[in-house]
């Protein structure tokens, strides 16, 4: 089955702080934070997809909340949970669409968690898969059975044999089919690694991945790339950044514009982490460290670059 749209929904785990009892959903605060963080995702290319705009539907009861609308994927935050809708992949089988949606959705959840401003956690061990395409998918219970038959295999491969599947039984013939997936004890990070989205251990609280930097460069973002390595390293290979060896950074601080979008990088991320800490301490609120440094770039983006 090659559906027009495939949706994945992770329910709300409840507010992160305050112990076991889930806090009430503070709609006004959460949605204001969601609007801000989604705009930030677009600005910094922090999640996958061709991202277009943020749509605010918080006024609609039981509605989609706040959406980050993209060309090939939508991300949504609402009382119903965190939802990703994969779209415009109609030449791709559902299992592959699901793989992409899981990878992109979990990576976005990780980005949300790292951002921290939402103050919500979502349950990644329980999620619902739906396909929205009545031309190819039977609705309701019958469709859910078909969905299980098609997706249980690949899902077990990714989630492990502990995963269980429940085809929706509620039989409103108008509803898109839904498959409930439970994978108790599943680690989102481990699953992401299996789906090819492993992340090097965090080097600073303000890491940016080489993929995100690539996206920013491709969309013509105006950013300042600062190379904090030594001149000899720069001679060997560079990404076209401005050379400011780490030791000389303190004296350069006052020459740099405070609001500038800055990405610093070194060879593998260590010096960059120290540089970004200095920048942040000095009030540069839009400064980031390229996680994995130029090595990660040469491994994952431009394999032609010499390594040293």
């Amino acid at each position: 089955m090659n559906p027009l749209r495939l949706s994945l929904r992770f329910p709300l785990l409840g507010a992160k702080e305050g112990g076991a009892a889930p806090q009430p959903f503070e709609a006004e605060r959460v949605y204001a934070a969601a609007i801000t963080v989604f705009h930030r995702f677009i600005q910094r290319g922090m999640v996958e997809g061709l991202l277009i705009d943020v749509a605010d539907y918080q006024h609609v009861p039981q509605g989609p909340g706040v959406l980050l609308v993209g060309h090939d994927i939508d991300y949504g935050i609402s009382e119903r949970g965190f939802q990703v809708v994969r779209k415009r992949q109609a030449n791709t089988p559902a299992a592959l669409q699901l793989q992409g949606a899981l990878r992109m959705g979990l990576a976005a959840l990780r980005a949300l968690e790292e951002d921290g401003s939402l103050g919500l956690a979502f349950d990644t061990t329980n999620f619902t898969v739906q396909v929205y395409d009545r031309a190819v998918a039977e609705p309701a219970a019958a469709g859910a059975k078909a969905l299980e038959a098609e997706l249980a295999g690949p899902l077990t491969e990714w989630l492990g044999t502990g995963a269980t599947f429940t085809a929706q039984v509620e039989d409103d013939p108008r509803e898109a089919p839904a498959l409930q997936v439970a994978a108790p004890g599943l680690s989102a990070a481990a699953l992401l690694a299996r789906l090819g989205e492993a992340r090097p251990p965090g080097q600073s609280p303000w890491d940016i991945s080489v993929e995100a930097l690539k996206r920013l460069r491709d969309t013509g973002a105006e950013l300042m790339l600062i190379d904090v390595r030594e001149p000899a390293e720069f001679e060997t290979v560079n990404l076209g950044g401005t050379l400011v060896p780490l030791a000389t950074l303190p004296e350069k601080l006052k020459e740099l514009p405070k609001q500038a979008h800055i990405v610093v990088h070194c060879k593998a991320g260590g010096r960059g982490a120290r540089a970004v800490q200095q920048l942040r301490d000095a009030g540069f609120d839009n400064a980031w460290n390229l996680a994995g440094g130029i090595l990660a770039w040469s491994e994952r983006i431009d394999k032609a670059l010499p390594r040293y």
Partner: protein, 784 residues
């Protein structure tokens, strides 16, 4: 289930003509994709099928820091500056707002599969879906066609949706039910050869009676008010109304046109409009301009003459023998709510019933309004609503121009049960038709023309007013708020008690989202008078303006005085004084939130071109001069109010002169105040060079000054004077916009020069990297 394409699945279930048209459209999409069809021709084709562009479809978007390219790829465009893969809006026509449950269920499916699961009801009773890809539209249209809905002529220069009072058939004051006639007109005109050659769109509307607001016929290109004469049904027919930038009241074409002649008469109007209406200048192409130009007597003579020439067509009268079925039988027998049940269902129910349910002409039944927030509902809600309509409302749903939904023929005894069902679906918001029931066009959310966030403001007002509604004065509660994202009035701000339209002002070297406050409009009598602009306030303060006005109204109104009467009694100067305290904007350093629009996190900018907001000293020069223009425009309104039309027109002309001079002074500081010299310099520098033109309206607003300067003879008539004052306000807005564009260009050049100077020495930075950034930021700091 072997067929997997909608074309095959629905084969035989669509009207054959409609199906063939959709196939043609699909073929045109394919041809355009291969670059074999002209871009402009394709754009008009898709518009005529309701396939609209949407904000950012030129592939550029300001992200709060800078303008970014949306990498949609390089397929041939859908139209000029409209990228193929960029999502668009699909408008779906719903004649007289009438739908069945089955039709609503299809809309719910479409929203889920092709859009963002939101169904949006418009101020013209249409539905709109946003973020739709053009390649999905043929299937979308097929699925609609299979349930008798077309999107044909939902946009483009043709006959748009035929609207009608949603209470038709159940209303206490109507002459008769207009719904079948609205349906007949829609069918007759759909794709008719005589409506294909208009210079601009044409919007018809029906009303069952003269005095209520529901039909709003006075603001339509052509309006029909039901009348019965000597036992025969017919219509009072009006023509040439319209909101838009400069609103016109429609004029009476015929006091009574028998129903057997109204299609013929409409066809004649269409032919006259197609033949004599303006074609080149979009800004003057609506029929209102033709009627104003010819005068209604001459226009009427031409229509009468044309009626003689229209070839005989049996359909002109044959529909009468077989009036379209527009009303289903009620689901339930009429029954009043038993007396012992009164007050038994809780305060929330009573509150909802008070505002959202109204008795019908038919005893024991009532009509219930669903107060949709900003006109939106989800696919899930739509399915729940379809069930509810089948169960309680005779399978009958009507959309309204207030962006709500009406359920009719609800047995009063069913109200508690209905309320529970609606509440369960999240559709039982109280306050229909009250101050919390705010109307708003899409604005900057999705519209390419939006300047400020009409929906963001509407959402904020809805939230804050609902919280206060408990102890609210009834007179305040009854006020209506309507918001448009720009002067084009899709939110119908001209007919609100408190209307707003978006604009922007340059302050502290940045742009600040603003709303012009429009007061004194009237909905009743089918929208009999339009409000006037009172002054522009920053978006952030708009809720305070609502509070201040409603508080003053509640405190100082005389007994039954309406809001319009109250503002008229106070006079413009005093009303303006109420708004004045909210017109100021604190500096960026003190209150940066003023520089961000509602429901957004990005620093504000005008347009989606991502114009960087920079300006030098010119701001102050321009600002001082343009303030004189604003104050002249205000004096113009005061004169109009005092009945001195000639003085009003003179002030309006002077307001435009000041605004033009403000622009000229940014380049030629010693310009005299001599009108001839001001107009000459402004024309040479800004109009002839097209620097004054905006992307959509082109030279429309500039022409206002040239026309007035060439001919200073006052019209001596209220409506014409009011229009000229409105034009002056628009000219001022255009001057603001022009200044913003020029300042942005200047800033862009400065940063380029800075970048070039450093390019040789600097390390090559990422794209437009460090050097450009530094000089841009430097320019901003230099200004502060």
């Amino acid at each position: 289930m072997s067929a997997t394409s909608w074309k095959d699945k629905l084969n035989g279930r669509m009207d054959a003509g409609w199906a063939a048209e959709i196939d043609d459209f699909e073929a045109q999409i394919e041809l355009r994709k291969q670059g074999k069809l002209d871009e402009k021709a394709f754009a008009e084709t898709r518009l005529r099928r309701g396939v609209y562009g949407q904000r950012y479809d030129n592939g550029k978007r300001y992200d709060g820091h800078e303008s970014r390219v949306l990498a949609f790829g390089d397929a041939p465009g859908k139209g000029p500056e409209t990228l193929w893969d960029a999502p668009g809006m699909q408008r779906i026509k719903v004649p007289y707002g009438g739908l069945s449950s089955g039709q609503l269920e299809v809309l719910a499916d479409l929203a889920e599969e092709y859009s963002d699961e939101i169904l949006h009801v418009t101020t013209r009773q249409d539905f709109q879906l946003h973020f739709v890809h053009i390649e999905d539209t043929p299937d979308l249209m097929r699925r609609l066609a299979a349930v008798g809905i077309t999107t044909r002529e939902a946009c483009g220069n043709s006959v748009r949706n035929v609207t009608g009072c949603p209470l038709a058939g159940i209303c206490h004051t109507e002459a008769f039910d207009i719904s079948p006639y609205a349906q007949a007109l829609m069918r007759f005109l759909l794709g008719h050869p005589d409506v294909q050659d208009f210079g601009r769109k044409f919007k018809p509307a029906f009303s069952g009676c003269e005095h209520e607001a529901c039909g709003l016929v006075q603001l339509h290109d052509m309006g029909y008010v039901a009348r019965v004469q000597e036992g025969k049904r017919g219509f009072k027919v009006v023509v040439g109304g319209g909101l838009g930038a400069v609103p016109h009241q429609a004029e009476v074409l015929s006091e009574f046109t028998p129903a057997t002649e109204f299609l013929l008469e409409t066809q004649a109007v269409a032919r006259v409009f197609a033949r004599l209406g303006e074609k080149k200048n979009r800004g003057r192409a609506r029929i209102k301009f033709l009627v104003a130009k010819l005068g209604i007597e001459e226009f009427r003579r031409l229509v009468r003459e044309e009626m003689q020439k229209v070839p005989h067509d049996a359909r002109h009268t044959s529909f009468m023998d077989d009036l379209p079925q527009t009303e289903n039988a009620p689901s339930r027998a009429a029954a009043p709510l038993p007396a012992e049940e009164h007050g038994k269902h809780g305060a929330d129910f009573e509150n909802w019933r008070h505002s959202n349910a109204a008795g019908q002409r038919q005893e024991g039944y009532c009509a219930v309004t669903l107060n949709l927030p900003l006109g939106d509902l989800t696919s899930q809600q739509a399915r729940a609503l379809a069930d509810i309509a089948r169960r309680f409302a005779g399978d009958n749903i009507r959309t309204s121009v207030e962006q709500n939904i009406l359920l009719r023929y609800i047995a009063e005894a069913d109200l508690p049960e209905l309320y529970e069902a609606l509440r369960h679906a999240g559709l039982a918001a109280p306050g229909a038709g009250t101050i919390v029931d705010v109307t708003a066009c899409p604005g900057t959310d999705t519209c390419k023309l939006g300047i400020a966030s009409s929906r963001g403001l509407a959402g904020e007002l809805r939230r804050s007013l609902a919280a206060k509604s408990a102890g609210m004065d009834q007179a305040v509660s009854d006020l209506r708020i309507k918001i448009s994202g720009c002067f084009n009035s899709c939110g119908q701000h001209h007919i609100a008690d408190i209307g707003f339209y978006g604009n922007s002002r340059g302050i502290d070297g940045r742009r600040v989202p603003h709303f012009q406050v429009v007061l004194g409009g009237q909905r009743s009598e089918n929208a009999a008078s339009y409000g006037m602009a009172m002054g522009s306030v920053p978006s952030r303060r708009a809720p305070q303006v609502v509070d201040a006005l409603s508080e003053a109204y509640a405190r100082t109104r005389e007994r039954t005085e309406s809001f319009q009467q109250w503002t008229a009694r106070l006079g413009k100067r005093e009303v303006r004084a109420l708004i004045q305290p909210f017109m100021t904007v604190p500096p960026y350093a003190e209150a940066p939130e003023f520089y961000v629009d509602w429901s957004d996190a990005r620093e504000f900018t005008i347009g989606d071109l991502g114009i960087g907001e920079c300006a030098g000293e010119v701001v102050s020069l321009f600002g001082i001069e343009v303030m004189k223009a604003e104050s002249e425009a205000f004096d113009a309104q005061c004169s109009l109010e005092e009945g001195d039309f000639d003085a009003g027109e003179d002030h309006a002309y002077r307001a435009m002169l000041h605004a033009a001079r403000a622009l000229v002074r940014t380049e030629y500081i010693d310009i005299s105040e001599d009108p001839d010299q001001v107009v000459q310099e402004w024309k040479r520098r800004f109009f002839d060079s097209e620097r004054f033109f905006d992307r959509f309206a082109r030279g429309k607003f500039g022409q206002y000054l040239l026309d007035r300067h060439a001919n200073r003879t006052p019209s001596g008539e209220r409506n014409a004077a009011a229009r000229r004052i409105e034009e002056a306000q628009l000219f001022i807005e255009a001057a603001h916009a022009c200044e913003a564009r020029l300042a942005a260009e200047a800033a862009g050049q400065a940063s380029k020069v800075g970048a070039a100077a450093q390019a040789g020495a600097a390390q090559q930075a990422v794209k437009a990297g460090a050097a450009g950034q530094a000089s841009k930021v430097g320019a901003r700091e230099g200004r502060a």
